[in-house]
């Protein structure tokens, strides 16, 4: 299935900003992070289609997954 993956802040270094990628059915957020060599301990904010999700959440065809490290500001 096709998944649009968006990376932000330090996660972009050596990777990409946005890419549409192919993943098998049953892929979780954790699987995508592993495929990009993003350590789970560094994952801060994870969103699918603008809603926060957890690592074990399974993706569906056409989803947009956004991954951020822990961030703050304001």
């Amino acid at each position: 299935m096709k998944i649009t993956v968006k990376l932000f802040a330090s996660f972009r270094a050596g990777r990409f900003d946005i890419e549409t990628r192919e993943y098998p059915l049953g892929t979780s957020v954790a699987d995508v992070a592993d495929s990009l060599h993003l350590p789970q301990s560094e994952l801060g904010i994870m969103m699918i289609n603008h809603r926060h999700v957890k690592l074990e959440r399974l993706l569906e065809e056409g989803d947009t997954l956004a991954l951020f490290p822990l961030l703050g500001g304001g």
């Binding site: 932000f8 802040a9 801060g44 969103m47 603008h50 809603r51 956004a66 822990l70 500001g73």
Partner: protein
């Protein structure tokens, strides 16, 4: 910090300085000092620009020490913008210098009857109040440049630009950074107008001959500070994200979460968001020979600021903050960082709050004075403020007044103060804070974004109502306490997640004052501050009906979540029921 200076600007025969002990205000600093003084001494029905109002300037409890992150200065008064009590704080060098000079507070009282403009010089020998009409209607950058010729580079300056002299309700008080740029502002609530009403143009703080404030238990303080700094460096937010990308790293986060108010709160996502994101901003700053990492005061280890240069490498302004990039950017449909940087410079120079000003320009666009996304028009509108034209006076009076003058229905204000950069329909928790804080809409008063969106210090669903009241209550209490210590609020990201870093903060306070300090003491301090502020507001005529968001947040769902603000009035009324 064993004395309080009172300067009666309206005394017969000219301003009169009285320096006394701390009395009932002993042990207080920052917001605790400003709010307790205002609540006790200012008539709640006073006109904010009248002689009865007081402008209380106070460094935090740990300012002027060797403690890291202790450079926040609080300024308090009755706000001309909101009519409520106001505490507006800023970084820069002023707090450290004022604390080392020994003042727990400098209080400007009364109001002169003539047209003379004053500057106040505070140094080891005392306080002088001097007439200087040559400074009239100068804006902050040229003003500080002129003052530097007289007072040099080893001092800190607090100044107002033309907006403060014109008593505009969005007027700020600028504090200089370590390089003497007037870039760190007590922005919110029109505190600059109160300083202007008292005819004080500049305060020059010179700590030559003074020493760092010593802790009661030097060794324990040093040890606690070391652990505190380690904790800040270790946490990903304070140790990596903020130094590398600054506060504007939030643009992409809020845009992705659908909580980025766009074109005056019409939708929750901005197409041009990535162009003005913290990632894009940091890259541009570095490419142009500026910097994406800079501290607003000496002793800061987070270094969330930066330097923004133009394409030729010339300084434009400090790194615009997330809220500024939003208010002048997405809120107005503008996606050009150079335009936003210019507007940020103009705000700092004229001396206006970047949130209030940007939101106001967006409302002017909604009213048809300009098109959303028209960069040149935004600059033109701000030039009206700079010139003090009739239109500029209206815009300089902020979002609520501009909305009324032009008949705009969608005006995002609470208690007449403009909402910052997070839509309360997509982030319910921050809506609770906007509605109920004593300050008028203010994100910093109880930063529910941390738990709702960033997942720091816990995890509360931003689209649901569950847990939001308790969250906002606890954050408002903690914030009132942190704002009293002189600590930058960004330490909260680390102390919320790391108990040992919170303990180090308690140990810093305890060892400095020679007392035992527990988490309960911090909570008690926060509640004491909030209670005093709430009491003032009640006496000033504010009721629970003012603790609400504008109706459009309840009636107009926002994309992409197609949701309204869902918190019930009865729930909001429970925030201060502790």
């Amino acid at each position: 910090m064993d004395k309080i200076a009172r300067i009666d600007m309206g005394a017969a025969g000219g301003p009169k300085v009285t320096v006394g002990g701390l009395g009932e205000y002993a042990g207080l600093g920052g917001r605790a000092m400003t709010s307790l003084v205002v609540a006790a001494e200012v008539h709640p029905l006073a006109h904010a620009l009248g002689a009865e109002n007081k402008l209380v300037i106070s460094p935090g409890m740990l300012s002027g020490t060797t403690g890291s992150m202790t450079g926040r200065l609080s300024v308090g008064c009755k706000s001309p913008l909101t009519g409520t009590i106001k505490e507006s704080n800023a970084g820069g060098q002023a707090a450290q210098v004022l604390a080392r000079l020994g003042y727990a507070a400098v209080i400007l009282e009364g109001k002169p009857s003539g047209d003379d403009l004053y500057k106040i010089v505070i140094n080891k020998d005392g306080i002088q109040v001097i007439v200087d009409n040559s400074l009239k209607l100068m804006d902050n950058y040229p003003l500080v440049a002129k003052l530097r010729q007289e007072y040099g580079d080893k001092v800190a300056y607090m100044t107002i630009g033309s907006a403060g002299e014109r008593k505009m309700l969005s007027a700020s008080i600028a504090c200089t950074d370590p390089e003497l740029r007037p870039t760190r502002h007590c922005g919110r609530g029109g505190v600059g107008a109160v300083m202007g009403a008292k005819m004080v143009k500049a305060i020059i703080l010179d700590d030559a001959g003074m020493k760092m404030r010593p802790a009661k238990d030097l060794e324990k303080f040093r040890d606690a500070n070391r652990k505190f700094v380690e904790g800040l460096r270790k946490h990903p937010v304070t140790g990596e994200g903020l130094p590398a990308f600054g506060t504007n790293v939030l643009t992409n986060v809020l845009n992705e979460a659908g909580g980025y108010p766009t074109n005056n709160f019409k939708t929750g996502q901005f197409e041009g968001g990535s162009k003005i994101s913290g990632e894009a901003q940091a890259e541009l700053e570095i490419k142009r020979g500026g910097s994406a990492t800079h501290g607003c005061h000496r002793g800061c280890v987070i270094q969330c600021s930066g330097i923004f240069n133009d394409k030729d490498g010339n300084y434009v302004t400090k790194q615009p903050e997330y809220e500024t990039v939003w208010s002048h950017g997405g809120h107005c449909g503008i996606s050009n960082l150079d335009t936003i940087a210019k507007l940020d410079y103009m705000d700092d120079n004229i001396g206006v709050d970047t949130i209030e000003m940007g939101v106001t320009i967006g409302i002017a666009m909604d009213a048809g004075l300009a098109e959303f996304g028209d960069d040149a028009a935004a600059i033109r509108l701000l030039e009206e403020v700079e010139k003090g034209t009739p239109l500029g006076r209206i815009l300089g009076s902020g979002a609520a007044i501009t909305g009324k003058v032009y008949g705009v229905e969608r005006v995002p204000v609470v208690k007449d103060q403009a909402l910052p950069a997070y839509d309360p329909r997509a982030v319910q928790g921050i809506g609770v804070t906007y509605a109920t804080t004593t300050q008028g809409a203010d994100h910093t008063a109880g930063y529910a974004i941390a738990t709702n969106i960033l997942k720091v210090g816990g995890d509360v669903d931003p689209l649901k109502t569950e847990g939001q009241i308790e969250l906002s209550r606890n954050l408002q209490i903690a914030t009132a306490a942190i704002d009293s210590t002189g600590m930058c609020l960004f330490i909260a990201f680390a102390i919320l997640d790391q108990p040992e870093t919170f303990q180090a903060l308690l140990d810093m306070l305890g060892s400095f004052y020679g007392i035992e300090m527990t988490g309960d003491d911090v909570v008690a301090l926060g509640k004491k501050v909030l209670s005093a502020e709430r009491d003032f507001n009640t006496r000033a005529g504010f009721t629970k009906h003012h603790d609400r968001l504008p109706r459009f947040f309840y009636n107009e769902p926002i994309a992409p979540h197609n949701q309204t603000f869902l918190m019930k009035d009865e729930e909001l009324d429970e925030v201060f029921n502790w």
